[in-house]
């Protein structure tokens, strides 16, 4: 009986201790991990979406509240004015959620370009949605987008309909978010646009 109690006690104690240490470590590393994910996952996609900007899209990102959901918006400045914004949405792919970064031109609300972030699609089939041949079709498009089979202008990748539909879904979801957030986006960056861009990058970090 004593032996049994000891087993329960030692194992519970060990598990509790491990849980405590790990949750503490998770809290401590969370901000740093978020930054790393932004740099290595969202970063390359952002670089494809807006190729010519004056600012660092990741450093200037801002989180907006939309009905309790948090939406991160990445602004792109060029020559002192807000060129466009990018935001990430998820669509259902063949191998789980697919992250798609969608950039919008502020001037005419069209899609500037899209870039994929997290993909777990089949190599050679679904993975081809990340290629420029497919993603390029979205540039200059006015949402909502649709596949050519549904009367839209996007040619799906043959053999990868699910993945193609997923990307279109993500783009459309992002477009809805953008339409709802646009007044706030304009308000958030209009006053600050000059200060955020006219200063040198070093100066901006000192703010």
């Amino acid at each position: 009986m004593v032996g049994m109690l000891r087993m329960v006690l030692v194992l519970s104690l060990l598990c509790a201790l491990s849980g405590f240490v790990l949750s503490y470590l998770k809290i401590v590393t969370a901000p740093r991990i978020e930054e790393q994910v932004l740099t290595y996952v969202q970063g390359p996609a952002l670089a494809r979406v807006f190729t010519d900007t004056d600012n660092s899209l990741i450093a200037d990102r801002r989180v907006f509240d939309l009905d309790g959901a948090r939406v991160t918006v990445f602004p792109a400045f060029k020559d002192g004015s807000l060129l466009g914004v990018a935001l990430e949405e998820k669509g259902k792919g063949y191998g789980g959620d697919m992250g798609v970064m969608v950039g919008f031109n502020m001037a005419d609300d069209t899609v500037a370009a899209i870039g994929t972030t997290t993909l777990k699609e089949t190599p050679g089939l679904g993975m081809r949605v990340a290629e420029a041949d497919f993603t390029g079709q979205f540039s200059g498009l006015k949402a909502p987008a649709a596949l050519s089979a549904q009367g839209g202008s996007i040619d799906a990748i043959s053999g990868a309909t699910i993945s193609s539909v997923g990307v279109v879904e993500a783009v459309n979801k992002a477009a809805v978010l953008y339409a709802r957030l646009k007044p706030e986006i304009v308000k958030a960056w209009s006053g600050e646009a000059t200060s955020a861009v006219s200063g040198s990058p070093k100066h901006r970090q000192g703010e």
Binding site: G3, L14, S18, L22, L25, T29, R32, I33, Y40
Partner: protein, 227 residues
């Protein structure tokens, strides 16, 4: 055995992937470049040294019947810690190693050393054992990764090392290349051992290897000889 011997046995005599053939899953899977092999090895060193140390520290209070569960909890916690730290400070490596980082917890070396060594020995000896085994594992993985990267890609740690016009054997960086290299390395190590044994006049060690971590065969062998 002295602490020094505990440390050095992991480097050749009981080299984990090539002599004990333990931990082959990450050995074969992540060694398509020297960088990945080194990174994986460092993660294993970290987990192995700390798990050996902690297990050696708590070995007297762990009831024998639940010891495996306790070992797993300790190893799993350390692996999750490594995963978080790797995400925070070496994200590209984390992206490369992917699923094989969490899989360190089921790496036979961790549990094998816990059961065979740390649970029976003091803290200093256990740390030395973990360090030696971990270093042996890292060197093995880096060596295997180097061969595969040089032959399959013409680079070493990302730098071009082969002559111009070198045609990379792309099979070497794919899965079959790992098996081919592993087989050649094992053959090479056995050859060195047999050659060494012949020189010193002993029975070749290579022909009776394989049970370094459990030593059940070795003790049975001595019993037979005594009996």
């Amino acid at each position: 055995m002295s602490v020094m011997q505990d440390f050095t046995k992991g480097l050749w005599k009981e080299l984990p992937p090539f002599r004990l053939l333990l931990g082959l899953c990450p050995t074969l899977a992540v060694t398509n470049s020297a960088d990945n092999g080194l990174g994986m090895g460092m993660a294993v060193i970290f987990v192995l040294v700390l798990s050996n140390m902690i297990i050696s520290m708590v070995r007297t209070i762990i009831p024998k019947k639940v010891r495996i569960a306790c070992f797993i909890v300790i190893a799993a916690s350390l692996v999750v810690a490594v995963e978080l730290l790797m995400q925070a400070y070496a994200y590209p490596l984390y992206q490369q190693l992917g699923i094989f980082v969490p899989l360190i917890v089921v790496n036979c070396i961790i549990l094998g050393r816990a059961e065979a060594f740390a649970a029976k020995n003091g803290i200093a000896a256990s740390v030395a054992d973990g360090l030696g085994m971990g270093l042996g594992f890292t060197l093995s993985l880096t060596f295997l990764g180097s061969i595969r990267e040089i032959l399959g890609n013409g680079t070493w740690f990302g730098k071009s090392v082969m002559w111009e016009g070198f045609e990379p054997l792309s099979i070497m960086v794919q899965a079959p290349g790992a098996f081919i290299c592993l087989g050649l390395i094992l053959a090479g190590m056995n050859m060195i051992n047999i050659w060494q044994a012949q020189r010193t006049g002993h029975e070749p060690e290579a022909l009776k290897q394989g049970c370094g971590s459990c030593q059940a065969c070795a003790s049975a062998d001595t019993q037979c000889r005594q009996g």
